[in-house]
Symmetry: C2
Subunit: 134 residues, 2 copies
């Protein structure tokens, strides 16, 4: 993945902070939090990390995730491949899993206790308006 090209073609400046965030996420084995990113990068304010991930999410370069019982957001680079995650209820980490039939029982190095299928979309009330309340 060519980070410079990705940023430029989204109309974003190639700052060293954005490049650093992208590099951290490219080398990660799953989505991580803003604080994780902050600690794996040097010399960069936490607000900038938050602003960077927000900007990149708006451009659909990153995706923002939430996990059961954690009060933090998790970010990763959007690709074709990664749609399935193994989420550890102990340390609250997400890891990519390449191979995932729905009724799977075995994932290497992971004890499955349950799974959740979430369906995203729009209800009739929201389908027509662009406004997004929160």
């Amino acid at each position: 993945m060519d980070i410079q090209k990705t940023l430029s073609s989204a109309g974003l400046k190639c700052t060293k902070q954005r490049i650093a965030v992208m590099e951290v996420l490219l080398s990660s084995s799953g989505p991580i939090t803003a604080e994780d990113i902050h600690s794996r990068v040097n010399e960069m304010s936490l607000s900038t990390v938050y602003r960077t991930v927000e900007t990149l999410c708006n451009k659909h370069i990153l995706a923002k995730h939430t996990i059961q019982d954690s009060d933090k957001f998790y970010y990763d680079i959007v690709t074709e491949k990664h749609h399935h995650y193994a989420i550890c209820l102990g340390c609250k980490s997400m890891r990519y899993i390449d191979h995932c039939p729905v009724h799977t029982a075995d994932i290497d190095g992971f004890t499955v206790t349950g799974h959740k299928l979430e369906i995203y979309g729009y209800c009739n009330k929201c389908k027509n308006k662009n406004s997004v309340s929160n």
Copy 2:
């Protein structure tokens, strides 16, 4: 569902606040936030709502959910039936869906834009210890 019995057999006192929270959740068409509960109940402090849902989650009477791009927790009563939810990206609401093949395309009154299957469990590092970091 017998609320009094549910609370008592979990070793919890049957306070009017806990009963009110349970009643609100029993009549809901999906998981809702602590503030939703607070506004649908009368004369009850918000801290008590938070403490009540936490207590009930610890007893596995309630489940705590998170959804994409929302910074709030959603609570519902644990049952055998409800494992599939339609989540509206517009108003950030969750609704139960009874019938849900994985490759489904149609849900009445809902425009599907994507789905997510999450697998929960424990990684090897966490499997043996009970401690749960966050």
